[in-house]
Amino acid sequence: MLRKIAFNLFAWSIVLAVAFPLFWMLVTSVKPQFELFRRPPTMLPETFTLEHYWGLLTETKFLSYFWNSIILSTTTTVVVVAIATIGSYSLVRFRYRGRETLAFLVLFTYLLPSVVLILPLYLMLVNLGLSNTITSLVIAYTTFALPYALWLLRSFMAGIPEDLESAALVDGASRLGAFWDVILPQLLPGIISTALFTFILSWNEYLYALVLVNSDEARPLTTGVMNMLISSFNIEWSLLMAASVMMSVPLIIAFAFLQSYLTRGFGAGGVKG
């Protein structure tokens, strides 16, 4: 028994140490500016304030960046998951020449560094007159999100027993009918997982946003927050921490309600073939 308690304490102290930066982010975000300059720092805020959150929402462009990020991530997710769903269906359940090469290409691009693609992609989008738009970021995000989604869905798809589809076909369903009635419902948890991962990937992306967008109209949160708050006149840490907390809101929601999907996507994407 004593051993069990000791082990639990040990385990939890590591867990808390890992989570400490996040705790500190929360604490800092509700401290007033003057308390921040206190040495030594106060562990819990002596004065609790939400002024930084309020200031962020009313005095800065945070909300407009937030909105851009929502549109951007949602669009990317919808486009990518739609293409990847039918694509992975084709890759797993059909036979044609070049299928293996394609699967290989998917894996290859899944591992490709974005820094290789970014320069030509940038030039391409400039030539298309798309730079500085959310569309340009959706296109750019496809480069890493689509291979990722395909890879995830491919492994989810492979997990669906082929018999189910055959049975439907024997019953006279068309191939697409079977896909719609049999495969899709089976695949739904996989689709949710993939969508969640794609969304988070897009939500957190920084490099493409840094290079492709230089107007506030299309700027997402990652570059927006950096641009807005790392300034030469003052560094307001409490405001930065408040922004960090709010940036993580979608994630917290995902964690609260959809955690099992997150863990599931994990296994499918990385480690299984």
Binding site: W24, S114, L119, T142
Partner: protein, 298 residues
Amino acid sequence: MTQKTKTLLERRYSMLGLLLIAPTVLVFCAVIVYPLVSAIYLSLFKIFTPTLEGTWVGLDNYRTLLAKGEFWTSLRTNLIWTVGTLTLQIIFGVGMALVLHQNIWFRSLARSLILFPYFISTVVAVLVWKWLFNDLYGILNHLMMSAGLIDWPLDYLGTMPNAMISVILVGAWKYFPFVVIAVLARLQTIPDHLYEAARIDGAGPIARFFDVTLPQLREVLVVIIMLRAIWDFKEFDLIFLLTGGGPVTSTQTLPLLVYKEAFALNQMGMASAYAVIMMLIMLVFMIIYIRRTRSEDS
């Protein structure tokens, strides 16, 4: 479906299959294959970024960069970062997975807390860590000073080797949950009777780890290591935002060098050459990983 003579239905099926993969192929060609080819093409020019005016220089960019010390030091830095952070990720990750595999209190809450760093945006992670590292008001310096470990605030990000160690640590903190989850999933599939047998043979917990657990984890660890090696090697955001490559160029990895060439020195052609070389280096890892997964597949 391997017969030489295909039925009409089968032919129609492969038509349908091609139709379904068509959007993927189109998108791939447009946003991946074409840029990839033009990256190689661009690397043969000297291009001034703001005006995008280019002149053909052939292989000169490659000649210059291979002769330049900066490329080799960046490559070395890149390897130090990758090996350093990857090692920590694996050690912490496996250790944490073993802990979480036990029946501890509030296990799912603990698992969420451990998982969180992996999912938060790098921007957020960097901001939080910069604040923890702050020289004057940072909690880390304060805690270490009150614990008597140091007498004077440490400079975590501005001097060597501190900067490299800090970047490696933050990288490990951010990415080790990936290892935790992957290993945890595998641990749950190890049959209990293996442990039973080992226990009957008189193996202690440490011997059981090395005799039973580790061999069972071997496969999954190889895959994780390859995957994380690739991802860590190409990491840009974390290092760029934490140190910007400094002090001097001590933490400047290849992706940062590409960015600097393209947008600070305005040499887009040269930057492409760096990017292409970097990809060639990564190709080695990628091929090993792909071989591995494909042999598992079949």
